[in-house]
Amino acid sequence: MIAELGLALLWFAAAFALLQLFTGLLSLREAGAGFAESVRPVAVMQGVLVTLSFLALIWLFLRTDLSVLLVASNSHVDKPFVFKLAGTWGNHEGSMLLWVTVMALSGAAIALLERRLPERTMLATLAAQAFVSLGFYAFLLFSSNPFTRLEPAARVGAGLNPLLQDLGLAFHPPTLYLGYVGLSVAFSFAVGALMTRQVGPQFARAMRPWVLGAWIFLTIGITAGSYWAYYELGWGGWWFWDPVENASLMPWLAATALLHSVSVLAARDALRIWTIMLGVVAFSMSMVGTFLVRSGVLTSVHSFAVSPERGSFILALLCLYIGGALVLFGLRASTVNEGKQFAWSSREAALVFNNVALTAILGIVLVGTLYPLLTEAFGVRVSVGPPYFNPVGAIFAFPMVVVMAIGPLLRWREDRFARVGRRMIAPVAIFAIALVAALVLAPGIGILPLLGLALAAMLAVASVLPVLGRNPRRVKLAVWGMVVGHFGLAVALAGMASNAAFTTERLAAAAIGDTVAVGPWDVTLSEIEPIAGPNWTALEGTMTARYRGGAPVVLRPQARNFFSPPTATNESALATRWNGQLYAVLGQEADGGRWQLRLWWKPFVTLIWIGGLMVALGGLLALIGRVIADWKQRAIRVRLAERREYREAQP
């Protein structure tokens, strides 16, 4: 019953989306102005219906209703509760339903809350939003129905991919989807504004919270995904430039550029067309990412459940949305006012530089990811990996870090470099000190880690200058957000460079009782014994690790075998200190009763993810700051309007 109800609700929601599209479009014409009143309620209704449909699917998964095909093929009666829940979106159909649900809820939220935009742009935005949703409804209803019944019902269920039976990963994909959906809202705003040609600070302020929100989720998603790959893949790497990783990085790069250009538009009414363009690009990157992950056109270590048929569907949606938006852009962009100009020495100019660099990095990632596909068309197979992405990316990333250090110190519109130069003395000195220190401490250090460390030190100092010496309570929350975000990036960069420069690796075959040294650690293998989990068996090694002969830390890495489906994984064990992580993996049995151990000492590696989370926190502070400020402004406007009305009412 619940499955049929869920499907019916999904159909109704799709019908409301269609209604939202048509009423929205009609109301833009004079003849259809009467429909304008109904667009917002329809959008809210669509959100409610699809949410109920998604709740129905969650219910089916929690009950493990094995008469539903999706549940039977992705869940298992013995699975722990939280993974039954995560099973709802740990598959293609469920994740698409989650996507459309969040999208419809966002639409409902805009319909209920957004009052700053000119009404026509608002209606156009909701129509665009409905148009995007409809594609996903069609995808779900015609090709990926999550509520299909299974006759006869399965007895136990096939089980979730053991890879996905991990708390971090259970919540990693939905985090990214929330980011993607946020970008789809930004896209709808961009398309709406293009339709009515009303691009200005009001539009930027309406769009900004969605961009910020999406960007926060993307940042968390990428950070968490990287940490997951780090501890799960068992070789100590945290980023592989794998197509799936790149697919999640590209929307983030575009969103970062958008975030900064939307700030220029909101504050200074400049970069109008560029911002619209980035709004389209950011969403198209999330669609491209989804396409690359689901279609299987590129091989990836993280790929699961790829299907060319789904790939074609996503590609069709991509053409429809992005192709359509770009045609609209071509037709309308030349009639949109470009906005204000600014001097070379201004904060706008620094942000423009940042946008150009981010665009270039985005280009590098996109081209590098797709290049093997291109050469394959010419019959040659190539691989593009870290030796391309790292140095070529750094060519643009490092200058960007320098500008990141200077930019926030510059004034809007026009400034004197001499004034800023004085404030940059300390950061530049730190840069030089860090450079020399790294060269002395690690003589053989590579050029990229060396510059990375020095630039990180410089940015860390420079990023706090905008608030230094000011009363912390009088600094706007959004400024705090910027400071924390930029500082976080410096921290992450330091972690990356430190990991690249100072990691020590030790591979050893050890018998029980043997002690192996790695960096400052002594690791003793004390025991190996078989253990069993709910749906796996494993060999667990017990190791005692001492940092410089200090107190022992117990590590328990496992070599796990899952039974349904049969898969083997390595569960690494980590010992975290303030200054780095010891990473231990239990390998195969070697001759003579010994075991292969893989050990790494990674100084300050945790800074990568701490920095990533700080960047996200910066975004959160900025978001809260902006929303509160907008709220206050709105209250002021309302009060002013009331007062005016009152005065006018007086004789």
Binding site: W235, V301, G339, V356, A360, S383, P387, E505, T567, A568
Partner: protein, 145 residues
């Protein structure tokens, strides 16, 4: 990482038997999981291995794969480095055998120059599009149609 290799290997082998049992029981090649004694040589080998693609895995370097063949390739790389061979010579030796696919480091040649030109072109293009946003002289900004 192991799981995806095993999944892939099992696909290739079309093995119905339990996956782990389909693996060989031989000890790995001598330098598959053993480092070279000379830290400088080991660092050289490690840097090279990180840029060589495991042919039996999906998108992994031989430096982070548990596939037996990746182990054999690591052993081969370490033995050659220990024998004094240059890393780029070893890369060339492997490219001769498996094609460019084996190396994650694209070489600059007719087929790959767009890979290096594209970012420059993109940055130039973005700069070109934004260049007219800048104002000459020290006048206050105004609207430009």
């Amino acid at each position: 990482m192991t799981r995806s290799i095993l999944a892939f290997v099992s696909l290739w082998l079309a093995a119905a038997a339990p996956v782990a049992a389909a693996q060989d029981s031989m000890p790995p090649a001598p330098y598959a999981y053993t480092q070279l004694d000379d830290p400088a040589q080991e660092a050289e080998a490690q840097a090279l291995m990180e840029t060589l693609r495991c042919v039996r895995c999906q998108s992994q370097s031989i430096a982070d794969s548990d596939a037996p063949m990746a182990g054999d390739m690591r052993s081969q790389v370490r033995m050659r480095i220990a024998a004094g061979e240059e890393p780029e010579a070893i890369r060339a030796w492997l490219v001769d055998r498996y094609g460019d696919y084996i190396s994650y480091k694209p070489e600059l040649k007719p087929l790959t120059w767009p890979l290096f030109a594209a970012p420059v072109v993109l940055a130039a293009l973005a700069a070109l599009l934004l260049r007219r946003r800048f104002r000459k002289g020290a006048r206050t900004g105004g609207d430009v149609a």
